[in-house]
Structure formats: C-alpha cells, structure tokens
C-alpha cells in the first residue's frame, strides 16, 4: 500500500484495510446479498398481474392485517409495561432487582420454539393461566389473543433495553428545576421526563414491532393457524412452502421484506435524529 493511493493527508499507519474490508464484503455477499437477490430473481418469474393476484388474495390480505394489527398492539402494550419495568429498575430499590434485571433478557436467550410450547401450555385449557381464564370465557391458546401473548413475550426486552440507558443518563437537575418551579411529580413526568424518553421509547417500539412482524417460532405453537382467522404472514409463507409453491411464497416474502425495510429505515432515522439531538445538547 503506497501513500499515493490514499486520499487526504493522513497516512494509514494501521495495516489490514484491504484484507478486512475485502473479506467483509465477500462474506456479506455470499451469506446475505446473493441469497437476498434470489428473492428478487424468483419474483421476476411472475408477471406483474400474477404477482399482484398472489399478494392480494383474501388469505394474504387477512394475514397482513392480522400480522400488522397484533404486532402493533403487542408493541404498544409492551411500550407501556416496558416503560414501567425500566423505570422501576432504574429508579427504585427492591428485593430481587438484579435478578429481575437479568431476567428481562430471557426472551432474547430463550429459543422461540421453547417459548412457544411453554406459553401454549400456560395459556392452554389446563395451564396455570388458562385454567383461570377459561371460566371467564377467555380463550387464549389457538386464538388471536394467543398470538398477542407470544408477541408480547418476545418484544419486551427491546423496549426495556432501549429506555434503560436513557433513563439512567437523565440529568436529575432538570427534575429538581421542575419541582422547584412548582410542578407536581406527575406534571414533571408528563412534561419533562416523557418528552426526553420519547425517542428511545419510539425506537424500542419500532424494534419490538419489527421483531413481532417476522416472528414464527413462538407463534406457530400457540396459534391454530386457520387461514383468514389466525394465520399470520410468516405462517402463510410457510404453508405455501410446504406445498412447494415457491413463487407464491416469494411474492409474499417480498411484501414482508418491503414492510421490514421501511421499518428499518424509520428506526435508523429515529436513531440518527436522537444522536444528533444528543450532540446538540
């Protein structure tokens, strides 16, 4: 490597730029980009009208509505409870706090299939929760509520872990100032703390939502997978695959990928805005 190849004045003292970047690009292409481009290649085997017909069948549309609706609801409920959990973990002292803090990451570490069967058991007719809910006329397993419970489980750590560090770094002087100016505790929370937590809360919400949209393992056990009623999009793709309908499965995958990438863009934008905001302060 000669200095003439390098733009700018600084000479690269450290070695390995070409090796590491080259390896990174090669590995990325082999593992991620080539398989991903296979999706686009397969989609082109369908004509535009065929593609449109496949992605707008009543079964497909029902699955998008279910996937989006339940994921949104689960992420919203998680945002509320996740905020409480993060708040309690940062601000209060109580017995077993460290254990609870470690346990929050359980959904990250526990395989989704295990989460699926254990939630299906607990909320099933003979389970610890299902036994109490059944007399009330609430059935969880094999219904949309079951899907909601599974998505609630897998989304929780995203919210807690994005809010926690922001809450820890919050300047206590701002709260003191609000209190000394006569704000009640609730007003301080609503007008001072929550606006500062909002970007993190929104990022956590988007992450939990994105994860819930693609979730398969935990849902497949607790959902009865009935078309039009309890079939989320990943399950629909799976059933097309089981019938070797690759073109159909791919068309549905393109719709999901488009939604996921749009969400990814929103998350990146949120994080970029949050970091710019921090730098300005």
């Amino acid at each position: 490597m000669t200095t003439s190849h390098i733009k700018g004045k600084q000479t690269r003292v450290l070695p390995g730029f070409h090796l590491t970047l080259g390896y990174t690009l090669l590995y990325l292409s082999l593992i991620v980009l080539i398989p991903l481009s296979a999706i686009i290649w397969k989609t082109t085997s369908l004509s535009a009208t065929e593609f449109w017909r496949v992605i707008t069948t009543p079964q497909a549309v029902a699955s998008y509505r279910l996937s989006l609706g339940v994921s949104l609801l689960a992420a919203l409920v998680n945002a509320a409870f996740g905020l409480v959990v993060a708040w309690v973990l940062v601000r209060y002292q109580f017995f077993g706090k460290k254990l609870v803090d470690a346990l929050v990451d359980l959904p990250f570490a526990l395989p989704t299939a295990v989460a699926g069967i254990t939630l299906a058991y607990i909320y099933g007719p003979h389970g610890w929760m299902g036994r109490w809910l059944a007399p009330l006329g609430i059935q969880v397993a094999n219904t949309r509520l079951g899907i909601f419970v599974a998505l609630l489980f897998i989304g929780l750590p995203f919210i807690v872990r994005t809010i926690q560090p922001v809450l820890e770094d919050l300047d206590p002087e701002l709260e003191e100032a609000a209190a000394s100016l006569g704000a009640s505790r609730w007003q301080t929370f609503w007008r001072v703390i929550l606006p500062m937590l909002a970007p993190a809360l929104l990022t956590g919400f988007a992450l939990a939502f994105a994860r819930a949209l693609g979730e398969y393992g935990s849902v497949v056990f607790i959902s009865s997978n009935i078309p039009l009623r309890t079939q989320i999009t990943p399950l629909l793709i799976m059933s097309e695959l089981d019938e070797f309908q690759y073109a159909k499965a791919t068309a549905l995958a393109v719709v999901m990928l488009a939604i996921s990438f749009a969400l990814l863009l929103v998350i990146n934008l949120l994080q970029w805005r949050a970091s710019r905001h921090q730098r300005q302060n």
């Binding site: 991903l36 309690v88 299939a113 989460a115 793709i237 969400l263």
Partner: protein, 303 residues
C-alpha cells in the same frame, strides 16, 4: 415481597414519587415479569418432570435426543466461529478506517436482523433448492454458476433438506451478532493505541493480539454468547431447510416440535428444558460480563 426502601442516595433523585406510587409501580412491573417471563420459565421444568425423573432422563438421553443435541452443537460449532471471524474483520475495517459507503455497509450487516426467519430459509431454498440457482437437477432454472452446480451434482452433495442447508441458515440468522457488538466498541476505543504500537515497531498481528484483542475481549465474548444462544435455538429458518428426518436432520428445537406434534408433551418439555438451561447459562454469563465491564470502567468514570 418487596417493600420499597428509600433511595440510598437522596441527593440524586430529590423529586421522587410518593411511597404508594413506588409500591404500585414495582408491583405492576413484578406482576408483568412474573406472568410473562417467570411463569413460562418455571413451567418448562415442571412440565418436563411431570412424568418423573426417570422419564425425563430417558427423554434427554435417547438416541433421537442425542442426535439432535449433536446436530445443534455442530451447527453452532460452525456458525459461531465463522461469524466471529467475520465480526472481528468487519469491526476492524469499519472502526479503524474511513471509507465511502460505511453507513450503507453497516445497514447491510444489520439486515439479517430484520428478515423473518421463514424468509431466511426461503432464500436458501431459492438458491440451493432443486428448482433454484444451484439445484441438483440438470435442468435447474438459469444456473448462475454452472461449474458449482456440476460440482455439487457430481459429488451428490445435498444442501437443502440436509445438514449443510441448516448450517447455512444458522450462519445467516446469527450473521450480525458479533459484528454488532464489536463495531461500536472499537469505534469508541479509536485507533491511537494501535497506532502507538505500530510506531513502536509492532507488526500488524502483534498489534492485534497484544493491543486490540485484550481491549475487545469482553465485547467479543458478549457477542459470541448471544450468537451462540441464537444459533442453538434457531427454529424458523432451520425448519424451512431441514429434511425433518428424525435422528438425522433434527436440531433440538426441531426435535421439540416433532415431540410436541406427536403429543409427547413431557418429552417435548424435557428436550426444551435443555435449551432453557442453555438460555439461563447465557443470561448468567451475560450478566457476569456486564459486571466485569462495569468494574473495569468504574475507575475511569470518576472525575
């Protein structure tokens, strides 16, 4: 169980909530965690032991279970080192040098996180499946690499619905874990220590082994632990490309599914308890690493 004790350092949060609000919030948080995290965790073990320890032992040690454990160790054993090497390489390139398109590269590295596991499996079927780019049939649609297709055909190497496909699927879904831990860490550390080592005459390798690696060891271990947990527990992507042949192409999560679908619930939970123990060990090691990190950084934080 938990009575809210007053904050040990009252000067930090002088404006605090009334005691009943604190107790209520702690109660709500513990109830939520209890219902959605602790109850599922405990029920795995109670259900696994519901037919007694004899049945449990038989369920986790029969040949099918042993083969599933073996295959899980194999897939993780290939996927984790591969992604570990990639993570270190990518972090070195991104954190130590400036180049155009860096943010695009970072987005691409994170991509597998936002792709549904089912779609990850589908992608591999489209590349390696019988109608795919590198399909085993001679009339595979538009082979992009005819020589590779021929090589696979002559060696009768099956990828989809076989072990190689499952390993590839695992590599794909765990792709970003190590890189994602190391990149921000190495960016924060900068390159002055490495540059000093170079100026003092160390070779590139010596710089990496003696300067960089000790600095990133906790982050690396953290990434490896999370990568391993996901690799051993992956279900959706592996399920798409597995042949579902009992005793041959079943990892532990697929073994759990097969037992569950066969109404052997005690057996399914017994196999699941092995994965749950792995998850608990993962959490313990993760917490320990965070503790180590905090202890290491604490003196530096003080003004």
């Amino acid at each position: 169980m938990s009575s809210a004790t007053p904050n040990h350092n009252p000067s930090r949060h002088p404006a605090t909530e009334p005691a009943w609000v604190r107790r209520l919030l702690i109660g709500v948080a513990l109830l939520f965690i209890g219902l959605f995290l602790v109850a599922p965790l405990v029920s795995v073990f109670t259900q696994a032991l519901v037919k007694g320890p004899g049945y449990y032992w038989q369920a986790v040690s029969n040949p099918l279970a042993r083969s599933a454990i073996g295959l899980t160790l194999l897939t993780a054993g290939v996927a984790v080192p591969l992604n570990c090497v990639f993570g270190v390489m990518a972090a070195w390139a991104v954190a130590k040098f400036e180049f155009r398109g860096k943010s695009l590269l970072l987005t691409l590295i994170d991509l597998p996180f936002s792709i549904s596991p089912v779609i990850s499996g589908l992608m591999l079927v489209l590349v390696f499946g019988e109608q795919g780019w590198l399909g085993r049939y001679e009339d595979a649609e538009h082979p992009w690499f005819p020589w590779l297709q021929q090589w696979l055909n002559t060696h009768n190497l099956k990828i989809i619905y076989a072990v190689p496909g499952m390993i590839l699927a695992t590599v794909f879904v765990t792709f970003p874990f190590v890189a994602r831990e190391l990149i921000p860490l190495m960016e924060a550390q900068g390159r002055s220590e490495e540059e000093a080592a170079r100026v003092l005459g160390a070779s590139g390798w010596q710089t990496f082994w003696r300067v960089t690696l000790p600095n990133i060891k906790w982050g690396l271990l953290y990434g490896v632990i999370l990568c391993n947990a996901r690799a051993m527990g992956e279900f959706g992507a592996v399920s798409v490309v597995s042949g579902h042949i009992r005793g041959e192409t079943d990892t532990i999560p697929l073994h759990v599914e097969a037992l569950y679908d066969g109404y052997d619930f005690a057996g399914a939970f017994a196999a699941a308890s092995v994965l749950t123990l792995l998850a608990l060990v993962t959490l313990a090691v993760k917490t320990w690493i965070e503790h180590q990190n905090a202890a290491q950084n604490a003196p530096a934080d003080k003004p």
